[in-house]
């Protein structure tokens, strides 16, 4: 394979945004080289490839860099047309998928992170908001799935499945750390069966870090937000983050 066609993904094992791109690459059967980035000491290469945001994931293809996970997913779908499609063909169905993907990204993800990073009254408020958004999503799924069971496998996972998976694939770890159950089969039956379905997909399973590691990630995010100024935590944080970034995959 020509050097030019090589695909590289700069990422970090704990990042759900990176996970999205990995799932997409695996579904499409695209071989790639994973470059683990130390987000505390960012490499020159990363800063060169993503000068605007200085973040992962960054996809390198044909010597060019593409940033922002959702932009990367659409790029992958448009460039590798041979594998399973990540978006439907019909423009109206595509619009629905993009709408709900945007909803999960902006309304759900942001608020779940708020729950992770807050405590007490502020956290209770944030939890309430998440449940409101989940309710909207559950309603939306009825329209999206048109009353049919949504079967997911490695052949038909799309952008919305991938993005939701990157958020709630770790729902058990979230439950353990936050003490609140978002993926509740009684409250949200469609959503819960959907989450269960995609966590069973082989590609997702293979990419999912072990439960204990996910718990560690969420605990770290929480500590970082709630006790950043505690004495010695700066140094500790450096060590903690470094150990987080170096205790690479699984």
């Amino acid at each position: 394979m020509a050097e030019e066609n090589k695909v590289k993904l700069h990422g970090m094992w704990a990042s759900p945004y990176v996970k999205r791109v990995e799932i997409a690459l695996k579904i499409k059967g695209i071989p790639y080289e994973f470059v683990e980035e130390d987000l505390v000491n960012k490499s020159q290469l990363l800063l060169q490839y993503n000068p605007v945001h200085k973040k992962v994931p960054v996809l390198i293809h044909n010597g060019k860099s593409i940033c922002e996970s959702l932009v990367i997913l659409e790029y992958i779908d448009e460039t590798w047309k041979n594998g399973p499609p990540l978006l439907p063909q019909d423009p109206y169905k595509r619009a629905k998928v993009r709408f709900w993907t945007s909803f999960v990204e902006k309304e759900l993800l942001e608020n779940v992170l708020l729950v992770v990073r807050s405590e007490g009254e502020a956290q209770e408020k944030a939890i309430k908001v998440v449940f409101e958004k989940l309710k909207l999503l559950e309603e939306g799924l009825k329209d999206l799935f048109q009353g049919e069971t949504h079967h997911i496998d490695g052949e038909n996972m799309g952008i919305l499945d991938i993005v939701l998976c990157s958020l709630f694939g770790a729902h058990k770890a979230q439950e353990e750390v936050l003490g609140v159950k978002f993926i509740d089969p009684e409250k949200f039956p469609l959503l819960s069966s959907w989450v269960t379905a995609f966590t069973e997909v082989a590609v997702v399973k293979a990419l999912q870090p072990p439960h204990e590691k996910l718990v560690m990630v969420y605990q770290f995010l929480r500590q970082k937000a709630l006790r950043p100024s505690a004495a010695g935590v700066e140094v500790k944080e450096g060590v903690y983050v470094t150990s987080l970034s170096r205790s690479s995959p699984f």
Binding site: V52, H61, N62, K64, I66, C67, E68, L70, V71, I72, E74, Y75, E78, T79, P91, Y92, R94, A95, R98, F99, S102, F103, L136, E139, G140
Partner: protein
């Protein structure tokens, strides 16, 4: 073939304006439904129950909400005068910059307008940093889309009209012609393009609206300043 295209908008929403421009640029016939956002119609709530906002495009009775989603739908459905480039990498770049304009540029400029004191200072600094990236991106181009208006231009278009209104109200420069010459001339070129020029909301009404928003923000922040951390 009976094509029925309706656009739910308000007189001033910059997000809905993007869709007006896109439809006009492509020469698509549509019916504009003006909403009073303080008194939303049952139809709006039915078509966009999740966000209850404009714009909503209704094509042959099927609603689509969220301006970015609508723009992509329009480009995929009516293929004349494409808004996005053909090449996947160029498309990715357009989507990247559109997201940057929305998440960073819009947010920081809005904060620079609506906040006071230290928060405003910080927002102005952030806005300038973001604008620097756009200035760089503009090198060698008339519009972000190249020779003609494209997706990113439509997404950022509000800048060409609203920024001078914000600057007039707060008495501060946000897009300095000397610091951002390329962006500044883009703002002129965009604002003067016929389709754009003919669709701006009335300036005096906009000034009244945004002054009122600012006054309300100042009033609520000073009444809660005793309880601020």
């Amino acid at each position: 073939m009976g094509e029925e295209v309706k656009l739910f908008r308000s007189w001033s929403s910059p997000f809905a304006l993007r869709i007006v421009w896109a439809l006009e640029i492509k020469g698509i016939e549509y019916e504009a439904v003006f909403e009073d956002l303080s008194n939303k119609s049952p139809l709006l709530l039915q078509y966009n129950p999740v966000h209850k906002k404009v714009p909503i495009l209704v094509h042959n009775g099927r609603p689509i909400a969220e301006s970015f989603v609508i723009l992509e739908y329009i480009d995929e459905t009516w293929k004349q005068v494409p808004l996005l480039p053909k090449d996947p990498y160029e498309r990715a770049m357009a989507r990247f910059w559109a997201k940057f304009c929305e998440d960073k540029v819009l947010t920081s400029i809005w904060s620079a307008f609506i906040k006071q004191g230290k928060e405003q200072e910080e927002a102005l600094v952030a806005a300038a940093e973001n604008l620097k990236f756009l200035e760089k991106e503009m090198k060698g181009k008339k519009f972000f889309g190249g020779e003609r208006i494209g997706y990113v231009d439509l997404v950022l278009g509000w800048l060409a009209n609203l920024v001078s209104i914000f600057e007039e109200i707060i008495g501060l420069k946000i897009v300095d012609e000397e610091k951002f010459p390329l962006l500044y001339s883009w703002m002129q070129d965009f604002a003067e393009a016929p389709i754009i020029r003919d669709n701006w909301p009335p300036r005096d009404k906009m000034i009244v609206k945004f002054q009122a928003l600012l006054d309300a923000a100042i009033a609520s922040s000073s009444s809660s300043s005793s309880s601020s951390k």
